[in-house]
Amino acid sequence: MVNVYNKENFKSEVEEYKGTTIVDFYADWCGPCKMMSPVIDKIAEENKEIKVGKVNCDDEIELATRFNVMSIPTILIFKDGKLLKTFVGVTPKETILKAAK
């Protein structure tokens, strides 16, 4: 399942979560994001032990700014609430999972 994160739930869902979270920063008008989205869905479906979610940059510009997201798609990986790794641009599934595990 892919969760939806916003400025209200980001703290409790990601920053206070003990474990790994993968967050996809995207927007509906962004062409490359359309290619990233099925990859994110697949990661969520195949790796139940990892929490996966999305942030819509149009609605959540504050969150995007806070994590210095200036290009989308951007994928952030958090471990125990701490930012572990950032991928900018469409990134293959294997590359993301390797960093997350």
């Binding site: 927007a27 490359p32 940059c57 200036m70 290009s71 798609p73 641009g89």
Partner: protein
């Protein structure tokens, strides 16, 4: 009524099954296979092919005395023209998604296609400026349509001097507050000039967390929030960025059918890496052409 019919005709004329970008051996091979399968095919190309620069080719099948790259290149284009493939000599400045296919823009026109084959060769232009790599994704961008949003009401620069730079600037002008074209010592090669232009040579890009300043060779500097790179003509790597095509070491990643990760987009020739040979480009072009035909037939069903 007559006018309307003409407009409709013009409109239909610019709808293609397959648009191929680049007219080297890969692109032309693709066009031959696609056209012979009764597809409506357009090849858009500009600039010199790697092949044209080859003085003599002596290892390609069927030419006992060798052949010049220029002759082989011209013969290929002639062969495709004889078969009925359409050609436009122009620069593709962007490829975008649209409903049922892709929109391909040149400075003069735009075209629609169900499938796109990228065979632009492996020209990769990255300016040799200190700070460019360091700040990629932190103020340095290669795609105005993807990242312009993050620079709303901010001050940005576009580095480049050709049509591509001006098309990126135009896209940004709806969003940002202030925009300057930086030619980095080059002369402007565009007819469009309704932007602020600075032709000084750039020394470096500086900042802490993200881009903050551009310093020129004469040690003057400007404050800047974002820099968009659009050097020369838009190339395969630029299209890859806007469409979300996965690349590896500046090559477009394809499978054995020349499919990229984006449905409907195929790549062939030098841009996929490996052997930079005519024979390999011809093989990949035919495969890409056939794969694109199969794709178009599937979606037409």
């Amino acid at each position: 009524m007559e006018v309307k019919m003409k407009n409709l005709f013009e409109y239909l004329k610019e709808m293609y099954d397959i648009i191929i970008i680049g007219a080297g051996p890969a692109g032309i091979s693709a066009s031959l296979y696609a056209k012979r399968a009764n597809m409506n095919v357009l090849v858009i190309y500009k600039g010199t092919s790697n092949l044209e620069n080859a003085t003599k080719i002596e290892n390609y099948y069927g030419f006992p005395d060798g052949i010049t790259g220029q002759d082989l290149y011209n013969s290929g284009i002639m062969q495709a023209k004889n078969l009925g493939v359409d050609f436009r000599v122009s620069e593709v400045t962007s490829i975008e998604y649209q409903q049922d296919g892709f929109n391909v823009k040149t400075p003069e026109n735009e075209y629609n296609a169900k499938s796109v084959i990228i065979s632009t060769g492996n020209k990769k232009l990255k300016p040799n400026i200190k700070g460019i790599n360091e700040f990629e994704g932190k103020g340095i961008s290669y795609c105005a349509i993807c990242d312009g949003f993050f620079y709303r009401n901010k001050k940005v620069a576009v580095i480049g001097s050709g049509e591509f730079a001006f098309s990126e600037a135009k896209m940004l002008s709806n969003v940002v507050k202030d925009i300057t074209i930086l030619t980095n010592g080059e002369q402007i090669k565009s007819v469009r000039n309704n932007f602020k232009i600075n032709t000084k040579k750039i020394k470096k890009i500086v900042g802490s967390e993200k881009v903050e300043k551009i310093v020129f060779e004469d040690l003057t500097e400007i404050d800047i929030d974002g820099i968009f790179i659009a050097l020369g003509e838009a190339g395969a790597n630029d299209f890859a960025k806007t469409l979300g095509i996965i690349t590896e070491n500046d090559n477009i990643k394809v499978n054995e059918n020349m499919e990229t990760n984006v449905p409907g987009v195929f790549a062939c020739g030098n841009i996929t890496g490996g052997l930079l040979q005519v024979s390999k480009a011809v093989y990949e072009g035919s495969k890409a052409g056939l794969s694109a035909v199969k794709y178009v037939k599937e979606i037409k069903k």
